[in-house]
């Protein structure tokens, strides 16, 4: 018992410490984003271009929309101490479900979206139940579900299928000035997720479960229910990303999520945003910063006309460096 109460005390102290610390990872992320924007503008400017013109802003936000949707969901599960490797194939599956249900008729838009989100919710439920009821490690559980989805897609589809009515394609392309409507919707959902994590009981429970499952259980949190909720919400966000991509591409594409590597990419964005992979620390605000950093990097490389493969190298280095920085500041805080 005393060991547990010691852990409770330490969690409490950790919470207090994160409150009082001035240099939070979120601040670091947005500072890094600002530095990146300035440096990128200079670099692109030297070559005679402008980074943040109409097209540049549009490019950054469009790239960030899909990754942002997935990463918001991924933040919820990672904060809860879990992770979801099945999102990439789920995106492809949902784009297919949406476009095949719509089948080109404007009347079927709402059923199509609902069907896709329903399928996503079921997959999230399966993820959550495999983790909580079968007690499988989250990595293995969601990897297993990802492989099952991949097998289904490979067995049933060879290429794009279904078609999206013209009216629905507006969601992919409409914009207000340089800002795509879909990006605004994504930011709105990010705000909702922020509110959910910071202002609701279930949100607090997610941090508690991610911090220490046993302590949360002993404090009366229904840990299983919390984990399942996080996974369902994450899957629904991935489903939204799939629906959005269907709207942009005009049809469903089985490997649209896997080819872009949204599973590992979204985890990278979340971790880049200062959320601890072990759970219990971090949030949506940092994640959006991480997403914007990644999409800004992409845009800068495009403007500079660098080889796209160079992006991967820089991205890998940035990811490792960022997490090393967070780890360092955390240990420094502990010893102080």
């Amino acid at each position: 018992m005393s060991a547990v109460s010691e852990r409770v005390r330490r969690r409490g102290e950790a919470l207090v410490r994160t409150r009082t610390s001035v240099i939070t990872p979120v601040l670091v992320v947005y500072l890094a984003l600002a530095v990146l924007l300035v440096a990128g503008s200079v670099l692109v400017g030297v070559q005679g271009g402008v980074l943040l013109d109409h097209g540049g802003i549009l490019n950054i936000l469009t790239r960030g929309t899909v990754l942002g949707l997935v990463a918001i969901g991924q933040t919820l599960v990672i904060v809860t101490g879990s992770l979801d490797l099945s999102v990439a194939y789920l995106i492809g599956l949902c784009s297919l479900v949406a476009s095949e249900t719509m089948a080109g008729s404007p009347g079927m838009i709402v059923p199509g979206v609902l069907a896709a989100l329903g399928v996503a919710a079921v997959v999230g439920l399966v993820n959550g139940l495999v983790i909580t009821v079968l007690k499988a490690n989250a990595f293995i559980a969601t990897l297993g579900v990802a492989l099952v989805l991949r097998g289904y897609l490979e067995h049933n589809y060879t290429g794009p299928a279904g078609s999206v009515p013209r009216a629905f394609q507006h969601i992919g392309y409409d914009r207000i000035g340089p800002v795509p409507v879909a990006a605004l919707l994504m930011l709105l959902l990010a705000a909702a997720a922020w509110w959910y994590l910071r202002r609701t009981r279930t949100g607090y429970h997610m941090y508690a479960v991610g911090g220490d499952v046993e302590v949360a259980r002993l404090s009366g949190v229904r840990t299983g229910r919390t984990i399942v909720t996080a996974h369902v919400l994450c899957a629904v966000m991935a489903g939204l990303a799939g629906v959005f991509l269907a709207g942009r591409l005009g049809s469903g594409a089985p490997y649209v999520g896997a080819d872009a590597g949204y599973d590992l990419e979204s985890i990278a964005a979340v971790v880049l945003g200062g959320t601890a992979l072990a759970g219990g620390r971090g949030g949506v605000a940092g994640t959006i910063g991480g997403v914007l950093i990644l999409s800004t990097l992409d845009t800068i490389f495009d403007d500079l006309g660098l080889e796209s493969f160079f992006k991967d190298v820089v991205r890998g280095v940035v990811l490792i460096a960022a997490v090393a920085l967070y780890a360092r500041s955390r240990t420094a805080g502990r010893s102080a």
Binding site: G144, L147, V271
Partner: protein, 327 residues
Amino acid sequence: MRARPRLADGTGPVLVVLLVLLVALAFAGPAYAEPSGYLALLKRAAPLVVLAVGQYFVIASGGFDLSVGSLVTAEVVVAARLVDGDDANTWWVIASLLGCGLLVGLVNGLITTKLLVPSFIVTLGMLLVLDGAVFLWSGGAPRGALSPSFRVLGRGSADVGVLGQVPWSVVVLLVVVVAAAWFMRSGTGRMLLAVGDNENVVRLAGGRVDRLRLLAFVLSALLASVAAILLAGFAGVSAQVGEGLEFRAITAVVLGGVLLGGGRGSVVAAAAGALSLEALFSLLNLLGVSGALESAVQGVIIIAAVAYAAHGAGLRRMLRRPVPHPA
């Protein structure tokens, strides 16, 4: 007291699964009526088994290595370009591939232990770097060709008296598995497993935790290089050769009953897991299940394996419960 050869904990179930699969293969296909069929299976499975052994070291010590798949791809593409079809280049290229593996393992291990970055992130970053670097260097499509002597390891055979033709890759496989099993019985090997179980205890007991974890990453990357050499010989050069291998190796290790998070499981079981996976794919193939469903089957299996590991003790107790006798 006499030391009795004994199976490590948790090796039993996967060996049973493997045996069942091998017997089923014999019934399913005429190719498996004689030893050569099984030798071909071993040859096919060799790269995955070698990778799984490497992954075992990292997982047993409490980490992940997601970079092995892209390391395999990178080394195959690099090898093709450097060898360029010339036999004279074979040996120094093989040596430099192993050197590259060593370097990648060292970087993975040092960043994990010195910069305190979770290994999932480090090796994910390494995956991105390797993927990007190899395409940057090769310009998107692999160029060059492997020399015949390079490909011998992957697809050639050695004459071994009684057994007839034994593929070199099977020899490599046996050497790797035996060496790994021997290593895990040594003091260092036991310490490695202890790091995965409870790092603080090892540290308090005077073990060099960082050095042990570094060793695990180096071994994993070195064995990935060996797997790359075997795969290049067996399957030839392509830019997709290593795709998904990291997850397949993790699946194999988990199938062998090795706990993610470390501290439990044997290396022989991990190798048996890899062999079972390959045997299962062969069996599905013989039964006419489409290759597209392979990954779905893989998915169901790893969930089942982990669920069994979590609930196995309870299940066994239920099965063993004595049947009440009628009075």
